[in-house]
């Protein structure tokens, strides 16, 4: 029998370091050619397995694979596709097994967030039931930093660094113009239901008066009066007010702020996000001139300002996933474990997929100041190490040079998949 092959897929929203995990997987597998045959990557994630679109990564040069370490987004393509439960869609699991069997795939490494860890856990169980046991390992990834057990999630540190750097820079811009111009600046950041990214922007405020002055977390119900009072007090005190708002910020009823507005004259849902909503509220109620920014994908793709710590951890979990698989572990995920000493240290640990799947980790209340508008020193102690170090990509003609893969597909052996 030939050596078993490995299938790797990227899942869900991409990050600026998920390819560093891919790099860790592929380079480690290549160092173990005696045990692992080919490394296949799913074209556009798990959908690539269903469609039998298997990218043969052996066709990529080692230089290309190394450059994945400094390339943002999902080099093999990702997708938002959650396998249904076995009872709901048995055919899908059967197809997965057929593809794995047809290509002698015995290792399945799935790089994603909570949903994905649920999927890979299911596949692990079912592969046993179906008589074709697959070694299933999860690889953590999410900018939202909301996975449990692991100290932090690869992908988060870099977006955290981006938002902290950005609000520091934009804050200086506003500060220098506020006497005669813009007094309020609102920056919207990602994070879904968790305030980790918004909180990380708070790292920019090192001294009293530094931006950001106010952070709006999903974890703290929005109180308009209290918020407006705080904005006015900042403008009076510092001459301006720099605000970071999480896309997941909610009112007391649990509705997103940006959705609580109305429709425009065409009947469209409000065009803007929560940043223009907040900026406009301030203009209406306090009359301050404002500007706002929505970084959107710019923040999670910003490999040019990635955290070195994050890149190293992303690579390490990819590497560890292969090592776990070779050790015969199954249905587990490598995690980041923080050392107990004051100086930041980390090592790779291990969590059961069953414990990780479908659990969201929010900002603890003691990471948020009493008034709900900033982060505490405890939060800073947690967050600061995660944005340490710069890991600049290579530039040519003034622009970062990111990996351009060949993405050669393996020859198909099965009939076409009809979902």
């Amino acid at each position: 029998m030939s050596k078993a092959n490995l299938f790797y897929a990227q899942s869900g929203g991409v990050t600026s370091v998920i390819n560093a995990s891919a790099c860790g997987v592929i380079e480690t597998a290549r160092q173990n050619r005696d045990k692992i045959g080919k490394v296949y990557a799913g074209l556009n994630g798990i959908v690539g397995a269903l469609n039998e679109d298997l990218i043969d990564t052996n066709k990529e040069s080692s230089r290309s694979i190394t450059s994945l370490r400094s390339t943002p987004a999902g080099a093999f393509g990702s997708c938002r596709y959650k396998l249904k439960s076995f009872s709901e869609n048995q055919r899908e699991y059967q197809r997965l097994m057929d593809v794995f069997r047809a290509h002698n795939i015995r290792y399945f490494l799935y790089n994603g967030g909570g949903d994905s860890q649920d999927t890979v856990n299911k596949v692990s169980q079912l592969s046993l039931d179906m008589g074709f046991p697959i070694t299933c390992i999860g690889i953590p990834k999410t900018v939202d930093n909301d996975l449990p057990i692991t100290d932090n999630c690869p992908g988060f540190g870099s977006v955290a660094k981006y938002v902290a750097v950005s609000i520091r820079e934009a804050g200086l811009d506003v500060a220098s113009m506020c006497e005669s111009s813009t007094k309020v600046f609102v920056m919207e950041v990602m994070g879904r239901h968790a305030g980790w990214i918004a909180g990380a922007a708070g790292l920019a405020s090192e001294q009293a008066g530094d931006a950001p002055h106010i952070i709006l977390f999903p974890e703290v119900p929005f109180n308009q009066n209290k918020f407006l009072r705080k904005v006015r007090s900042c403008v009076n005190k510092y001459g301006y007010c720099a605000i970071v708002v999480s896309e997941g910020a909610q009112n007391r009823d649990g509705n997103f702020l940006a959705e609580s507005g109305s429709k425009d004259a065409f009947g469209h849902a409000q065009l803007g996000g929560v940043a223009p909503f907040i900026a406009n509220m301030i203009k209406d109620e306090l009359g301050y001139k404002y500007h706002w920014a929505v970084a959107d994908y710019l923040q999670r793709a910003a490999r040019h300002i990635a955290s070195k710590t994050d890149v190293e951890q992303a690579y390490a979990v990819g590497k560890a996933a292969v090592e776990f698989a070779l050790k015969g572990k199954n249905a587990v995920m490598p995690i980041i474990v923080r050392g107990k000493s004051k100086r930041y240290t980390w090592k790779i640990g291990e969590a059961k997929l069953a414990d990780v799947a479908n659990v969201e980790k929010m900002m603890p209340r003691d990471y948020i100041t009493h008034d709900g508008f900033h982060i505490t020193d405890k939060a800073k102690d947690y967050l600061t190490p995660l944005i340490q170090g710069e890991d600049y990509p290579a530039y040519k003609n003034g622009i970062p040079q990111y990996a351009r893969l060949k993405k050669v597909l393996e020859k198909k052996k099965l009939s076409k998949w009809k979902p």
Copy 2:
């Protein structure tokens, strides 16, 4: 008589390298202590002169001054304040002269765009008429790159680099998810009436299919049908479409696109900018899932990804301004002159303020492709050298360390200014 003092002020919208010009001014003045006494910087620009709020830069350590070279925004404060004509507001000019005379200021260096060059030119003429001749030198600055005569404007190269890097990164993000998720991404950029910044984003497209696929310039009237056809063709061809739109994009009647929409249910002018406007149009007409970003101040404050060429040129024009003043030149501005050879070279030249003031330089038509949606090779040849090189600031705790000045004000000698 004591040595003459120098007054330096920052004007208008700030950039990520205007402080590099300030650094060039102050360091060069300090090297000429035999001729120049104190360097005063206007607190919040020219308004600082009217209010007699003169920052004594001699009180700043040479280390602080050096760190200005890598600090974004206006370290002394800037303002949007245009002096009226002499006939309209004689008192203002009289006050300026009074302050200059009271503090023995014989050099006035004004760091700004077209409006500011007009102001400094007027001051030069009037100071002669008023019997207190001031040596007046303009220092070019604008992210919009719309000053005439100079090959390019300090401030532009860095925002150009930021938008090119950002659309490359966000483009990869969209590309990796487009099979099952977002198909259209719209990034709004600055530039007012000129498409230079939008055009610079085009540098990210090095190979066929690279983002951005479409650029909307202020110089090309928006044609909705043609645009939507192009969007659909990109999605069909590449799987997604990355669009860069200038805030100054206009329809055939010369109205800004973002203003041509309607008001929302509260009667507010539309909250979003032109990016959400375009994104929503695409959703309505073509049904594609979209995301959009508005970088706003993030782009012009992004010192973390400044162009090395831009930083060097910004410093050089500051330095040259002092040298011009010491050579007895007046009512001129140092400019960037591009060498004729294929390899990019530049040197400092000189322009009369009268020729620079109040003239806007747009993108030439032959810098824009025939279909109006991208830049030509000629544009790339012009733009590429301007984003060359990286000039990273120093980091501490994962965050760039920018100058923190003491900003000690000189003791006032005059009565309070009443505008």
